[in-house]
Amino acid sequence: MSALADDALPAARLPRLLAGLRLDRAVSLDEHLARLGPLPRVDLVAAVEASGLRGRGGGGFPTGAKLRAVAARRSRPVVVANATEAEPVCAKDEVLLRHVPHLVLDGAVAAAAALGAREAIVVVGADAADAHAEVARAIEARAQRRLEPEVSLRLAVAPPSFVAGEETALVSFLSGRAAKPTFKPPLPFERGVGGGPTLVQNAETLAHVALISRFGPDWFRAIGTADDPGSALLTVSGAIRRPGVYEIALGTRLVDLLAEAGGVTATPQAFLLGGYFGTWVDAARAQRLELSAEALRPVGASLGAGAVVVLPASACGLTETARIARWLAHESAGQCGPCVHGLAAVAGALDRLAACDGKDMRPQLARWLRQIEGRGACRHPDGSVRLVASALDVFEREVRQHLRGSCTGNVR
């Protein structure tokens, strides 16, 4: 434990969230408190606002503004820690819950205390059995210690669907209805779980909140960029030597992240940044890119939910995108016509292009992508459109080659 005490006040260096992490088991409550001490009483809303923290669940919305919006409501709020993480290429929230569950619980409790909420609900995905077990144990340990008698921590399991993690879908599910997105307004901060104002935050975001409450906004801003401060967890997969979850200072170059992950296993062709709602970026363009909101904006990308997928030169980006588009179409909540029919049509057109059937589906695809965007109750269609549009751009040569009947990739 003395080794842990050495980094008790983490300086302007990494790791932050993953400090004190052990691979064999979760950090216990004793170890956690020995390293970081109890949660201090601070003006959390002001501290988080000053920190510039942005949500790490995909939207990138300023966390302080969300806290402020809930704090301004008159009735008693509820806090929800969203760790559903249904994206197949993301594993960061699961890693946090499996290894440092108390950091996430601290963030949820700190937010609840600051807002006067009596209940904080941690929602994990249906297939995250290990994370579920660790969180259950961590909640039990805190209850036995009577660490925060004013806040009741509860654990819930989301149904196994991608859209269940969307915040209005979570609110609906936690209120006893279907885990499907609802029409907005109202947003959760206006009317959420059980009708009360609800703060829904991604698990990683809350882990940052736990550290900001202890070390303050200036400490948080000591790394990262001015516009996108702090550190972030990225899940690196694909043609990479050591796939896994890495903590970087925002603004770190992609090449440096790849080096930290052991380097690529094949010449990269493109990178999928941000996950299934993300953007393909050509490898030549991507390598020097800095991983921050402002550096990625000009190339139309963002870190989204923190996924980086390395596509090797030997693979077909079009085939890969067709597969993802089919999955996304399948994961539609099935509520909104443009999403149900539009995503199915897009997936079908990509299948035809990927299969080299000779029909040029590009005009239809362009029209559908234009039409679908913004016409769902949630952003499922928008995220899907973004991914496919970037694929048609980045893999344009591949598309033309397919129209001539051949595919660069090792088609299975």
Binding site: G59, T182, F183, Q335, G337, P338, H341, G342, Q371, A377
Partner: protein
Amino acid sequence: MKTLRVNPIACDGHGLCAELLPERITLDEWGYPIVDPEPIPGSLELHAKRAVAACPTLALVLARAARGAVAR
């Protein structure tokens, strides 16, 4: 100023709105309305109200221009 909005969950694509307000509403190839987000001028307000009233699923709403979103 008021704008037209569709609740896409409630909408079943009956298409009456596009017939009553073709100036602002077209249908996509699956029959679901694509609504012009621009504010409805006074000259069209009556037609817009008629389209709203005609929707069998009450999916079309005429509301004051959207507030700035506080959270996504």
